[in-house]
Every structure is written in C-alpha cells, then in structure tokens.
C-alpha cells in the first residue's frame, strides 16, 4: 500500500515509508490502542483529514494573494516597477530598441529558441506580443547599426532588423568565432564603442589557473597558459563578418577572470568591466584563510579598461579591507603578501562573490540628476559565501563624474531573492542578470530563474 524503500546494509534492515514524512513511522513500534491496529479503522479519520487539508490550502491561497506585493522588488522613493513579462525563460542580457522593442538572450533554449522578442503595443509597460527565435542559447545581446547582435558561448552573430517589425531576418551572419568551448565562465558578453569596435568578454575556464583546477593546495601554472586564449577582453571590427578570435581578434585587456558585466561608457568614452573575482580561498588554502576570510575575500573589482591593460588574474586578487592587490596563494601568497607586478587596481570594489552580471551607464533624462551618467550594476548573487548567508541578488548604483566614481555605491533595487535569508542560491526566486535602458530612460532588469522582466520608471 505504501511506497516502501527497503535498505539492506551491514547495519541491518531499515524501511522508510512515506508515512515517515508525517511522523507516523513510529506507530508500528508504539503500543497504539487496539482500535488503531487495523488500518481499516484509520479510514474513519479520512473525512477529517480532507477537511483539514482543504482549509489549509484555502488559507494559504488567500494569504499568498494578500502578500504578493511584499515580494516585489524594493526601490528608492519615487521609483516604481512593472512586470513586463514573466516566465519568458532563463533571461540573461537584454537590449531595447529605439521603438521600445525588447530582445533577451536565454541561458537555455525555450520553445526551441535562444532569443525572446517582446513588444508592448498599448504602452502600459507590459509585453503584449512575445516571440521566440534563434537556435542557440547564450548571453550577449545588443543593437548596433540596424542589427541585433547575439552571442552563444562560442560565436558572436547578428540578425538584420527589419524597420517596424519585431522579428529580424532569421538567418544570422557570423561576426566573430573561434572561441573555445568553456565549461566555466563561458558567457561571451559584449559591447560596442563609438568607433566601430566590438569588445567581447572571454572568461577563463578556471578559478585560479590551477591544474587540476579547483583542488586543495595545487599551485598555479606559471606562466598561466590560459591567458593566451582566455581571461581577457578581445576586440573585433563590429561591422566585419567571419572574424576569428585568434586571427582577426585583438587582445585589448588581459588578466581578467570573467567580466560578464562589460560596457562602453559613451560619455567618458572608455571601456569598463566588473570582474567575477576568484572563489574558494578558504576551501583550497585553509591554513591561510579562515572561513570568514573565504567568505569576504576577494572583492569584486570594477575596472576602467584602457588598451593593453593587465588586471592581474590569476596571480593576484584584491583585498578591499587593505585596499591592496595581493599575491594569490596559488603563486606563493598567504593572505599577507602584496602583489608586486603592478597589475591594475580597481576604480571601486564590491563585496566578495556578489557575481556582477551586467553594467549599464545611465545616459537617460528620466531619472533624477543624481543618476545621470552613473553606473548600474546587476549582481546575480553569491554561492561561495556558504555555509554563511548568501548575498548580492540586487542592482546597485555608482554615481559618476567624468570617468571616475564620484561617491559611494548604493543599493538601488533589492529583494529579488524574495526570502529574508538566502542560505543557498536555490532559495532565491530571482537572480538579476541583465540591464538595459529604454528609449525614454526607463531601466529594464531581467533575471534568469523564473524569467521575469521589470521596467523601472521614475515619477515625481
């Protein structure tokens, strides 16, 4: 009658019935009244059970409806959010065209497609038309010169946009290829400058260039051979088809572990990126880093990337409590030795393991002047803070003056996780991943758990 799982091992025979879930497994041992010994008599309780369950579920529905708003994201005063669409797939990055049409890349195929196109016909913020196209999953997406650019983890391609139509021409052209398959940090996020160049993030398939990677006490390969093909930003001609990473591609910046958050700042006219800092200092070097240090180190670094720059991965990491670049333990560091190679320092640092997944410079006029030309950063949220509470899972703002931050960073949108304590990333209902600005200065945020898109607007 019950689904019994019987286990036989050297310690004897155990059975665990489904009843065990409800604490009833002990009854077989207890001296229950003889009335209860026959299972048939238990059926007498059945109506009571059913009524109890119906009442419980009904109450649950009501309370869920009453509190749905509490779970929405928290914004500064004057800002409101609408949900543009929900459950569109695992949304990664987002691009909004000048007519308001929205395009989102997906981490996994949904309805057999890797890109979602959305249109709001009646201007209420909510998508009325949703279409799927493209045969590959991926991360990068952007609109440039009448084309929709998209990247899978191995190729950057573009689709010709048709004026007035939501769907582009469905046959893509390849712009850049030859990126090796990469099981860690594979996202080829990209951005365009003002001079016809395309910049592509080529993350390192590694944590700290150990071989084998992510293992206790393994030294780093020296020099790290991965830097030849990975761990940097590669630049391409944005308008030329069929380029290969190692032939036509130019390594613009190196020593970057993975910069999913990569964006050209059109006002300062520089490239910026926020790096996913290395993981697991405590797990692999417990004699140098306590659990707390592993949780709080290293800082996530925000870089201004000039041509030819070296940001130090895998030899260094950034300690924000000391404001110093430190030598990585894989290369002889112990948490106390400073880096002497002169690798680039960040322009700002964020708490460890927050996982920056997008960066956007706000050039719109809708938001208050405080936000003008500043940077929004979407943090996907940590996993390497376990066993302590996980953090991030928010969108923050950094005010800017010219090409530098002009003040402290502040949380802009919060509570994406929807739970008070995030003990495992799996607890979070949403993990912010992509940012875009709409034609009238609204901010769009997309996330990759449920596939929700928010449009954030400011009203006086």
């Amino acid at each position: 009658m019950f689904n019994e799982e019987i286990l036989i091992n050297e310690f004897g025979i155990y059975t665990q019935s489904d009843l065990g879930y409800f604490g009833l497994s002990k009854y077989s041992k207890m001296n229950a009244p003889s009335f209860l010994k026959s299972w048939k008599n238990w059926l007498l309780f059945l109506p009571g059970y059913i009524i109890f369950f119906v009442v419980c579920i009904y109450t649950r529905e009501i309370s869920a409806q009453g509190t749905r708003q509490d779970k929405s994201i928290i914004l500064p005063k004057g800002f409101t959010a609408v949900i543009v669409a929900d459950s569109i797939g695992e949304g990664r990055h987002i691009a909004v065209n000048s007519n308001g049409d929205i395009y989102i890349s997906l981490a996994r195929l949904k309805n057999g497609a890797g890109i979602v196109a959305l249109r709001d016909v009646n201007n209420d913020g909510k998508a009325d038309i949703i279409r799927y196209f493209g045969s590959f999953p991926g991360t990068g997406i952007g609109i440039y010169n009448g084309y929709l650019y998209f990247s899978s983890d191995t190729t950057v391609m573009r689709y010709k946009l048709i004026p007035g139509e939501l769907l582009p021409k469905l046959k893509p052209e390849i712009i850049a290829r030859g990126f090796k398959i990469n099981r860690q940090h594979g996202a080829k996020s990209f951005t365009f400058d003002n001079d016809g160049y395309l910049y592509v993030n080529v993350g390192a398939p590694s944590n700290a260039c150990q071989n084998p990677d992510r293992t206790l006490h393994t030294p780093g390969m020296n020099p790290c051979p991965l830097l030849l093909e990975f761990g940097g930003i590669w630049r391409f001609d944005a308008n030329k088809t069929g380029q290969d990473q190692m032939k036509e591609g130019y390594r613009y910046a190196t020593g970057l572990r993975n910069c999913v958050a990569l964006r050209w700042n059109p006002v300062a006219n520089h490239l910026y990126a926020v790096q996913h800092g290395r993981d697991q200092l405590h797990e692999f070097w417990p004699e140098y880093y306590s659990e707390d240090q592993g949780v709080n180190l290293p800082a996530e670094e925000f870089f201004l990337l000039r041509d030819g720059i070296n940001c130090g991965w895998p030899y260094t990491y950034y300690d924000d409590s000391k404001n110093m670049k430190m030598l990585a333990p894989e290369y002889g560091g112990n948490g106390k030795i400073q880096d002497k190679t002169g690798s680039e320092k960040p322009i700002m640092a964020f708490p460890a393991h927050y996982a920056p997944n997008d960066l956007l410079f706000y050039t719109g006029d809708q938001f208050p002047p405080h936000y003008k030309n500043g940077a929004f950063i979407a943090f996907h949220g940590s996993w390497n803070r376990a066993p302590q509470e996980q953090k991030g899972y928010n969108v923050i703002f950094v005010p800017f003056l010219n090409d530098q931050p002009s003040g402290k960073w502040e949380v802009f949108a919060d509570n994406f996780a929807g739970v008070s304590r995030i003990m495992s990333p799996r607890d979070a209902h949403h993990r912010p991943c992509g940012l875009a600005m709409g034609p009238n200065g609204s901010l769009y945020v997309v996330e990759d758990i449920q596939g929700r898109i928010w449009k954030i607007t400011f009203r006086q």
Partner: protein, 161 residues
Amino acid sequence: MNCQLPAVKMDKISNFIVLMLFLFGNSENPASVLIQYRLIQFDRDIPENGKLSRTLKNGKEIYRKFCLSCHQKDGSGVPNTYPPLIRSTWVKGNKTKLILVLLNGLEGEITVNEDYYNGYMPKQNKLSDKKIASVLTFIRQSFNNASSVVSPKEVKALRGK
C-alpha cells in the same frame, strides 16, 4: 522492526513544523521550505548510534571541507552551475558510477533530476578510500536520500578505473 534510519530521522514536531510551513507559509516555492528544513537538519547532531553514526559524522566533516562550497549546505547546488545532491539518482543509484564521480571527477553534459548541467567537477582522488566511503555514505543518507552505505573496499576496487 526498527523503522528509522539514523540520518533521516524525522521527529514528529519538526515534521509538523514543515507541514505547517508548507501549508500556511506563503512561500511561492514550497521546495524552499523543505530546503530550509534540511538546513536545520544539517546543523543538527547526528544521533549516537554506533559505527554508522561515526561514519556519518566523518562524512559530514569531509562534506563540509570538500563539497559544501559547490553543492551547498543543504545539497541543493547552484542553478545552472552545480547540480543538487537532493534526491539525485546519481547519489541514490548505482554505487560504481557514484564512486567514479569522486575518483575521476566529472565534466560535460549530464542530467540531474531532469535538469541539464554542463560543468566541471574536480576529481577528489586525493581523499583516502575511507574518507570517500564516508562522504558518499553521508550524502546517500542525507538531503532526503536514504540509500545504502558505501564501504572503503568498494572505493578501493575502483581506483584507477
């Protein structure tokens, strides 16, 4: 008959709490209630119960040091990155396959609980047979799994395969 596995012992009060949380708590995601419950379980001491509880205690320590950061405290893993150990057929099923995941590592496309992963797990072959056996026994009897123990002999037989 003894109806309880030491590692999956569920007392009536905590079951009642879980049931109530599930029914009255207004989480959009009932699974997260279960996950939170399992966290409580991880923090709870393993009951004294002879040799098996010693194995489980050792296994839990190995798990904390060598597995927890990726697979998380409650075995739930990280979406799209680290697969869960909760109810995973990799964990509950064939021991040979499971032992080889630890001895040789795992890379490439796999399916866990009908979900797709394409990642890299480092091999754990520097751990002794006894340590591998105890951590595998621990994960097979935690996180809502309830499968048989893995012995050091079984691990030894698969080294180098």
